[in-house]
Symmetry: C2
Subunit: 412 residues, 2 copies
């Protein structure tokens, strides 16, 4: 049985017809629709002879025993956001199914090959993403907090998980699943505009960005818009406006794909007749290199102090969240690059802005790499998310070739 990438496209359409509606994909983790998607996966894998197991964190594994206990892992996630896209997460899994079929058809592989569908990558129902992969990676450290989380209907996370056979207190036991892992491969839609703008179907991912998120509070003085001369103002918005613009030259100077975003400014009193007294600004900065990320942050803080002095206002920074960059395995990046070039002529290396399950696996010390396939208009988390069928087929071929190359290298 040869690899049949067109079958992957057909199966993804079928999955969407089964679990989506007119508003998009509805495969939200810990719901009946998600269970339907998992059942769909179970049936698709059945003819490969791979053995199914659901671990303590709800991750769904299919194991094709090979000549060695060492394992090649292929992974993705069947869950989606509500009103999501038809490819986000499940493309990876269904492409993995096709690769598993091809490998199974060729007889016993040199290494054990496993396909995993991670539980609750999106965190759509309880606001905690990467649930299953962080449990398996051993990086889940917020179980006390998770115990208190509730969905919009007031249902507690532990109760919802129990309905799907998962005991939160035992989730970290899923760590044993990675004990023999030698490599992890993940294919995902890009969810960004880079490959489309370069007119390339596929790219290899260097790693996931480190992120620094801050709330910045500017405090000036409310004053009447009519009776306060321009030179007597202490305008909090002026500080926020200067910083919203300054993060761009800062990103350009640091370079290396740095991105900085001011996603919101909230002004108070926020009325047409008053100078702004306080402006609360959100800032998100990302880089694949830890030192560069630190420079982005330091430069923005320095600029904000300068602007505060210029505007005679106060400025305060509060960290909301941060994560270090997670780099993928250099040797696997090379193999992925080769695979893409062989399948479609040209490859491109790019960082991933969003986090992925692959980042959790890489954090656990397992050699990891990801492939990105072009997203039309860079859209995701919407029913408008789309990728050309011919690009999906190329992505299945590239993943398959990468699996072959990885098995060769690991068994050499």
């Amino acid at each position: 049985m040869a690899l049949d990438p067109a079958r992957t496209v057909a199966e993804l359409w079928e999955l969407q017809a089964l679990t989506g509606d007119e508003n998009g994909a509805q495969r939200v983790a810990w719901t009946e629709t998600w269970e339907q998607a998992r059942e769909f996966l179970r049936k698709a894998v059945a003819d490969t002879g791979a053995v199914e197991e659901i671990d303590e964190a709800g991750n769904q594994w299919f194991t094709l025993r090979g000549g060695s206990e060492r394992e090649l892992l292929l992974g993705g996630h069947m869950d989606s956001v509500p009103n999501g896209g038809w490819l986000d997460g499940c493309l990876n899994v269904m492409a993995g199914v096709e690769v598993l079929r091809r490998i199974a058809a060729e007889g016993t592989p040199p290494l054990t090959v496993r396909l995993v569908s991670w539980a609750d990558e999106e965190g759509a129902r309880f606001g905690r993403s990467l649930f299953g992969s962080s449990a398996a990676a051993g990086s889940m450290r917020d179980q006390d907090e998770l115990r208190a989380r509730r969905d919009n209907d007031g249902i507690a996370l532990p109760d919802a998980l129990r309905e799907h056979g998962v005991e939160l207190d035992r989730a970290l036991d899923a760590r044993s699943q990675l004990a023999n892992a030698a490599a992890y491969l993940e294919l995902h839609i890009e969810q960004g505009p880079v490959l489309e703008s370069m007119d390339l179907p596929l790219g290899v991912v260097l790693g996931t960005f480190g992120v620094e998120r801050h709330q910045i509070r500017w405090r000036g003085q409310a004053a009447h818009a009519g009776s306060t001369p321009m030179d007597k103002r202490r305008d909090a918005l002026a500080g926020a406006a200067k910083l919203a613009l300054e993060i761009r030259p800062i990103a350009a100077e640091v370079g290396g794909g740095a991105v900085c975003t001011s996603g919101n400014v909230v002004c108070k009193p926020g009325i047409v007749t008053s100078v702004v007294e306080t402006a609360e600004q959100l800032l998100d900065q990302r880089h694949l290199d830890a030192d560069s990320l630190a420079r982005l942050l330091a430069s923005a803080k320095e600029a904000s102090e300068r602007f505060a002095a210029e505007e005679d206002v106060e400025v305060e920074w509060e960290r909301i969240w941060n994560i270090e960059p997670i780099l993928f395995d250099e040797a696997l990046v090379e193999l992925a690059d080769e695979s893409i070039r062989e399948v479609c002529g040209t490859s491109h290396r790019l960082p991933s802005g969003p986090l992925h399950d692959a980042a959790e696996v890489a954090r656990a010390g397992i050699p990891t790499v990801m492939l990105f396939v072009q997203s039309l208009r860079g859209l995701s988390h919407t029913k408008l998310e789309d990728t050309k069928p011919e690009h999906i087929e190329l992505s299945v071929r590239a993943l398959d070739l990468l699996a072959t190359k990885t098995l060769e290298r690991l068994s050499a």
Copy 2:
């Protein structure tokens, strides 16, 4: 009976004790507390022999018949915002009482002298300021809209006014009150920081600013903060930020006391992980000169088009409200300047940012001028509003001298 400015300060304290509380002044128009303030005024004027009349718009008039039917008007307003200051509005009225006492004590004046307490200058209860003065000036053109207005308790404006003897449909009949007016004088606290910063107690007001108020909608493209390279962004906030800063050099270039304020920016989706798709910005521009105001607006629009092109976003302007500059009478400005110089040595000419009843009277074609007395820290519409008692006394003296000079000129 000589002028006694200290009595004005004492009466203002008494009024505040009677009608204010620990949160500030509570003389909101069309309330029992406002009626108490009007009764307080009635008693204060009683010994002058001036005859009281409440007109069709609720304005309270006290007329001291003179040697001619031509009238010198002194005016202010007893109403305040909720939790307001002890001087805003009533300083003008109580200073007028003292001037009326002095004139009455000297016998029949050459012209008829009238003191008016305008009804509902603040518009605090129904959101419609300058109610009584716009009715008397004949510029009230929103009676249909006023009929539908309700206060926070759902009480309709016409019903509330009827409880205080005012029929909305007849309010414009108050126009007859200005038939014989030859001049109108008004003293007010500055409500801004200019006189305090110049260390001057008093200033003469050149007129009220013309105002242009707009909402500016910037529309870019929401995009993932992590996966969208800096050069592929269409950031609506960047347009708003550039304009918030550019209005300052524009104001400086137009000069002549121009003020421009961006009082609010509302970003959507307004989250830390997305480039801003839409930013709704408020802009308030003011100038005493109509051509300069037009230049402020044209320059800001031109700049916004430039920024929209630079940022590859769209920009749309919608006018919220505008009013032309209203200039006070040149001859009266001269007399006011003389009066201030004679009372305290130095005068200063300045525009008024906020509107005042005087602007309505001036719009009706009656020669008008205002005096400003220094506000501490420029604060108003708060219980923190304050003016030094010695400055209040100087303001009463200056208003009195201005009344004398105006009567002399009008009867010459």
